[in-house]
C-alpha cells in the first residue's frame, strides 16, 4: 500500500545474487549458460528441472514462476522457465531446458510450482514436449482429438483437422465419485450466463456444494502467438494485443508488446510519449476495472442489477476519452514501437477539460458504488470470506494483478519493475488482506482511484509540455531486424495482472518465437483452490472476482 520512492529500491531486503553466484549455487546442475537480455539463463539437463527450480526457489528466493516458454529449434526442443521474485520482479533468472529432438521429454516443474501445470500442458499441446512426472499431461487449448502440435516444425498446416465431438459421457447420466458418494456432474458452460465468455467448468457437486471444479479452456484459441510470429516487428504485430484482453485493456496489452520489442531492439521512447502512454494505459485500466465491477455485480446481484449499467456508464465516459485519444473505442492500435502513433487530439484544451471533467465526477461515482455495492450487507454476506485464496497459494499459482493484491501480496510491476512514467508520479499500490471475493473487488475499486490520480498528474504534465518538445515517436528504422539469437522476456502490469511477452529474434524482421504470458491464464488456474467446498453461487462469485477475459486466457 505504500509507494516506494524510486530512490529506495526494494533490493534492500532481497539480496540480489550475481549470475555467477547463482551458477555456484546450482553447481553441477548447470551445463551451460544461455543468457537472455532480461536475465541470466542456465542450461540444465532435462531430468534435473525439479531440483534446479526448487533450489532457486528455496535457496535463492525465486518464488514466482512467471512463464514457461517452449519452442523447437533445428536440433532440439527447449523449455524456458522464467523465474522472478514477488518481492522484486527485476531479479529474474531463466532456466533453459533443452530436450531431445527425436524424443522430447523433460521433467515437469509442477512439483515445485503449481502454476507449471497449465503452462506445461500448453507447451505439450502446441509444441509437443512431453513432461515427465506431470500430474495431468493432456491438451489444454486444442481438442483432445487434434493431430500434431501446431507450433512444432514438422507440423502439416495443410492437413485438414476434423475436431469431432468425442463420445463424451452423457452429461445427464449418474455420477459417483466413489462407491458411497452420490455426486452430480454439472457442466457450467461453455454457454452459461456467468462464465464471462466461452469457458467450460467441469463441476462435481455434492448437493449444492462443489467438491471439484476443473476449468476447460481453449474455446477461444485464435493462434495469437502464431499470428504474431508471422508479422513484422515494426507494424504488423501491434494490432494483435488489442485482441487479448478486450475488456478495455487494449493499451495495456499494446504496452506489453511495445516494452518487450523496444527493449529487444534497444529503442528509447521519448518522455513525452511515455507520459501519453501512461495516461492512456491508466484510462484503459479504469475501463477494465469498471467492467470487472459491472460483471461482478451481475454475478452476485442478478441480471437486472442497476450497478451493471452504472458501471458501464462510467466506463463509457472513459471510453469516449480513449476514442478521442486513439480514434478507436476498443481495438486502439495506438502504440508504435518507440512511441505512440499521434499526438493528443486538437484542440488540446478540449481534451484536457473533458478528461478533467471525467476525473471530477469519478470520486462521486466510486462513492456511489461503495454505497450501492460494497456497503450493502447482503453483498458483504455473499462475498466476505468466500473464494478464499491465501497468499502462499496465490504465489504458487503465479497469480498476479488485483487477484494477488487482494490476497495481501504487495506486487505491482508499475512500481516494482518501473516502465513508462510511473516512477515519476505519486500514486500507491493497493492491497487488501481479506484474500476473498470482497477484497479482490475492493482492490479494483481502489485502483480506479489510484489510476485517476495518475491520469490527473499526466494531464498536468502534458498541459505544460513545451510545444517544441512534443516528440511522439523515436526515430525507429522502417524494418527492424534484432540480432540473431537474442531472447527477451518483459512484462507490464495489465488490468488483470502481469502480462508478459517472450520474443526470440532470429535476425529476420519477424520473431522466431513469440510467447504470451497471459495473467488471466495463470489467475484462472487458482479457481479450483477457491471453489472447492463452496456453494455454486460462490464459485460463480469467485470466477467473477478473478475477472478473466477468455480472449486472453486462450489467446
Amino acid at each position: 500500500m505504500s509507494l516506494e520512492a524510486p530512490d529506495t529500491p526494494e533490493t534492500d531486503d532481497v539480496p540480489e545474487r550475481t549470475p555467477d553466484e547463482l551458477e555456484a549455487l546450482l553447481g553441477d546442475l548447470v551445463v551451460d549458460r544461455d543468457d537472455h537480455l532480461n536475465a541470466p539463463g542456465f542450461v540444465i539437463r532435462p531430468d534435473t528441472v525439479q531440483e534446479t527450480l526448487s533450489r532457486l526457489k528455496s535457496a535463492a528466493g525465486y518464488d514466482h514462476l512467471s512463464l514457461v516458454t517452449a519452442q523447437e529449434y533445428e536440433n532440439r526442443y527447449e523449455s524456458i522457465y522464467h523465474l522472478k521474485k514477488f518481492d522484486d520482479p527485476t531479479q529474474e533468472v531463466s532456466v533453459v531446458v533443452p530436450a531431445d529432438k527425436d524424443r522430447p521429454v523433460s521433467e515437469s516443474g509442477e512439483a515445485v510450482f503449481r502454476t507449471a501445470d497449465w503452462h506445461e500442458r500448453e507447451a505439450y499441446d502446441l509444441i509437443g514436449i512431453e513432461y515427465d512426472d506431470h500430474p495431468d499431461l493432456r491438451r489444454i487449448l486444442l481438442p483432445e482429438t487434434w493431430q500434431g502440435h501446431p507450433l512444432s516444425m514438422d507440423y502439416d498446416r495443410d492437413r485438414p483437422q476434423i475436431a469431432t465431438l468425442p463420445a463424451h459421457a452423457n452429461p445427464l447420466e449418474e455420477h459417483h465419485l466413489d462407491a458411497e458418494s452420490d455426486t452430480m456432474f454439472l457442466n457450467i458452460g461453455p454457454h452459461h450466463p456467468a462464465t464471462h465468455g466461452v469457458l467450460h467448468l467441469k463441476t462435481i457437486l455434492d448437493g449444492e456444494q462443489v467438491i471439484d471444479v476443473e476449468p476447460d479452456i481453449g474455446y477461444l484459441h485464435r493462434c495469437e502467438e502464431q499470428m504474431a510470429q508471422s508479422g513484422t516487428y515494426r507494424h504488423q504485430i501491434m494490432p494483435y494485443p488489442d485482441r487479448w484482453d478486450w475488456g478495455g485493456g487494449g493499451l495495456l496489452n499494446e504496452w506489453a508488446y511495445a516494452r518487450a520489442a523496444e527493449d529487444l531492439a534497444d529503442i528509447e521512447v521519448p518522455e513525452y510519449a511515455q507520459v501519453i502512454r501512461t495516461m492512456g494505459a491508466e484510462m484503459c485500466r479504469i475501463a477494465a476495472h469498471m467492467l470487472a465491477l459491472a460483471t461482478f455485480a451481475l454475478d452476485v446481484n442478478g441480471d437486472f442489477t442497476a450497478t451493471f449499467m452504472y458501471a458501464i456508464n462510467d466506463r463509457e465516459r472513459v471510453q469516449n476519452l480513449l476514442e478521442d485519444l486513439t480514434g478507436q473505442r476498443l481495438m486502439f492500435n495506438y502504440f508504435r514501437l518507440g512511441g505512440v502513433v499521434w499526438d493528443l487530439p486538437e484542440p488540446r484544451e478540449e481534451f484536457f477539460s473533458k478528461t478533467r471533467d471525467f476525473l471530477d465526477q469519478l470520486p462521486g461515482s466510486v462513492e456511489e458504488y461503495h454505497d450501492l455495492v460494497t456497503a450493502n450487507e447482503i453483498f458483504q454476506m455473499r462475498t466476505i470470506d468466500t473464494g478464499i485464496l491465501p497468499p502462499e497459494v496465490a504465489k504458487e499459482y503465479g497469480a498476479t494483478g488485483p487477484v494477488v493484491r487482494g490476497s495481501g501480496v504487495d506486487y505491482d510491476l508499475r512500481r516494482d519493475d518501473p516502465y513508462g512514467y510511473y516512477d515519476e508520479l505519486d500514486w500507491d499500490v493497493v492491497t487488501e488482506d481479506g484474500c476473498d471475493n470482497y477484497s479482490r473487488l475492493l482492490v479494483r475499486m481502489r485502483e480506479v482511484e489510484e489510476s485517476a490520480k495518475i491520469i490527473e498528474q499526466c494531464v498536468d504534465l502534458l498541459e505544460d509540455w513545451p510545444e517544441d518538445e512534443r516528440t511522439i515517436q523515436a526515430n525507429v528504422p522502417r524494418t527492424l531486424r534484432p540480432d540473431d539469437d537474442t531472447e527477451i522476456y518483459r512484462a507490464v502490469e495489465a488490468a488483470k495482472g502481469e502480462l508478459g511477452i517472450y520474443i526470440r529474434a532470429d535476425g529476420t524482421d519477424k520473431p522466431a518465437r513469440f510467447k504470451i504470458r497471459s495473467p488471466c491464464f495463470s489467475n484462472l488456474q487458482t479457481l479450483p483452490e477457491m471453489a472447492n467446498g463452496e456453494y455454486i453461487p460462490d464459485v460463480i462469485a469467485a470466477l467473477g472476482s478473478l475477472d478473466i477475459v477468455l480472449g486472453e486466457v486462450d489467446r
Partner: protein, 355 residues
C-alpha cells in the same frame, strides 16, 4: 358478513337468472372478468412496465419506439413470444413437463377468487367470500411450488433440477413464517374471512392534524408487516430471494428448458404470483381496498396497492444482491421463523389482555 353482495350474485341478478343456472353463469362471468383483469395487469407488467421500471432504475430509456410510450410492445412481444418454436427436449417427463407451466399461473389466478378487490361503482369485485378465505389464498398460492418442482424434475436437466429443489427448500422455509405472521393478523381481526379482515382495518387508529390514520395492520403492527413483506418476497421468488431461477448461477433454474408458449405461461404465472402476493399484502396489512374517497372507487386503491408492491419488487431487483441458498435457508429457519412465532405469541397476549 354476508351483507355485501358478491360479484357472481351481482352478475346473475343483473342478468335476471336465478337458481343453479344463475350461480353457474354468475360465477363463470365473474371469474372471467376478474381473471382477465389480473391477466391484463400481467400483460402490462411483463412486456412493458417491467422494462420501463428497470430502465428507470438503470438510467436507460427502454421500449419507446412501438406506439405511444412503447405501449404497443405488449402485443408485439406477445406475438413474438408465441411465434417461437416450442422446443421439447429429449427425455422430458411428459405430461408432467406440459402440466407444470399450466399449474403455476392457474394456482396464482385461483388465489384471486377470494380476494376482495373492492368496489368499482356498483360492482363488488370479489368472487367468493368463504369463512376460511385467508387460509384458502395461502393454500392456492402454495400450489405454485408444486409446479416448480414438476418443472424442475420433469425437464431432464440438472439446472432445472437444482432450481426445483431450491424452490422447495425456499418455499418451505418461508411459507411457515409467512402464514404464522398472517395468523397474527387473524388474531387481530378475529376472522379468516377475507372481507372481514379488510373490514376490521376500517377504524381510526389515531388522528394527526385532522388526518385519520386507519387501523391498517401495517400501522398497528409494523414489525409483522416487515416480516410479512420479507417472507412474501421469498414466497414469490423475487430479489434478494430469486434463488430458484438465479440466472448467472443456474441459468434459469426450473424454466431452463421451456420455450415459446410454455415459457410465456411460466412468465405469466410468476407475474400473477407477484400480483397475488401484492393482493395478499394489501388485504392483510394495507386495509384491502380502503382509501380516500367514496367506497365505490375502492378497486382503484386496490390496484394502486398491488402495483405499488410490484414496483417494490422491481426496485429490490435492481438494487439488491441475491443471498446464497444456504444463507436463505438459514434466514428462513433460524431468523424469520423465530421472529414470526414471537410476533404471534406477543400479538395473542396483547389482544388477549386488551380484549
Amino acid at each position: 358478513m354476508g351483507t355485501v353482495q358478491l360479484f357472481p350474485q351481482f352478475v346473475s341478478e343483473t342478468l335476471g337468472l336465478s337458481g343453479v343456472l344463475g350461480d353457474v353463469v354468475g360465477s363463470l362471468v365473474a371469474a372471467a372478468v376478474v381473471g382477465n383483469i389480473v391477466l391484463a395487469f400481467t400483460g402490462v407488467a411483463g412486456p412493458w412496465a417491467k422494462r420501463k421500471i428497470t430502465a428507470a432504475f438503470t438510467d436507460r430509456i427502454a421500449v419507446n419506439r412501438v406506439g405511444p410510450f412503447g405501449l404497443l410492445i405488449i402485443p408485439a412481444s406477445a406475438v413474438q413470444l408465441l411465434a417461437k418454436e416450442l422446443i421439447v427436449p429429449e427425455g422430458v417427463d411428459r405430461p408432467t413437463w406440459d402440466l407444470a407451466p399450466i399449474v403455476l399461473p392457474a394456482s396464482a389466478l385461483l388465489g384471486f377468487a377470494v380476494i376482495p378487490m373492492g368496489r368499482l361503482g356498483p360492482v363488488n369485485l370479489q368472487i367468493a367470500d368463504p369463512e376460511v378465505g385467508l387460509a384458502l389464498v395461502f393454500a392456492f398460492a402454495s400450489i405454485a411450488s408444486v409446479s416448480l418442482v414438476m418443472a424442475g424434475y420433469a425437464s431432464n436437466n440438472k439446472y432445472s433440477m437444482l432450481g426445483g429443489l431450491r424452490a422447495v427448500a425456499q418455499n418451505l422455509a418461508y411459507e411457515i413464517p409467512l402464514i404464522v405472521t398472517a395468523m397474527s393478523v387473524v388474531i387481530f381481526a378475529g376472522t379468516l374471512q377475507t372481507s372481514g379482515i379488510a373490514a376490521a382495518q376500517a377504524d381510526v387508529l389515531f388522528s394527526v392534524g385532522g388526518f385519520d390514520v386507519p387501523t391498517w395492520y401495517a400501522f398497528v403492527n409494523p414489525f409483522a408487516f416487515v416480516l410479512f413483506l420479507t417472507a412474501n418476497m421469498a414466497e414469490i421468488g423475487r430479489n434478494p430471494f430469486d434463488i430458484p431461477e438465479a440466472p448467472t448461477e443456474i441459468v434459469a433454474g426450473y424454466q431452463t428448458e421451456y420455450s415459446s408458449a410454455y415459457f410465456v405461461l411460466f412468465y405469466l404465472g410468476e407475474f400473477v404470483h407477484i400480483f397475488l402476493g401484492g393482493a395478499i399484502l394489501a388485504l392483510t396489512f394495507l386495509g384491502g381496498a380502503a382509501g380516500p374517497g367514496p367506497e365505490s372507487i375502492g378497486f382503484l386503491w386496490f390496484v394502486v396497492k398491488i402495483w405499488g408492491f410490484f414496483l417494490f419488487t422491481q426496485w429490490a431487483r435492481s438494487a439488491l444482491p441475491r443471498v446464497r441458498i444456504d444463507q436463505l435457508i438459514e434466514i428462513g429457519w433460524k431468523g424469520m421463523l423465530v421472529l414470526s412465532f414471537a410476533n404471534l405469541v406477543l400479538t395473542a397476549v396483547i389482544v388477549g389482555v386488551i380484549a
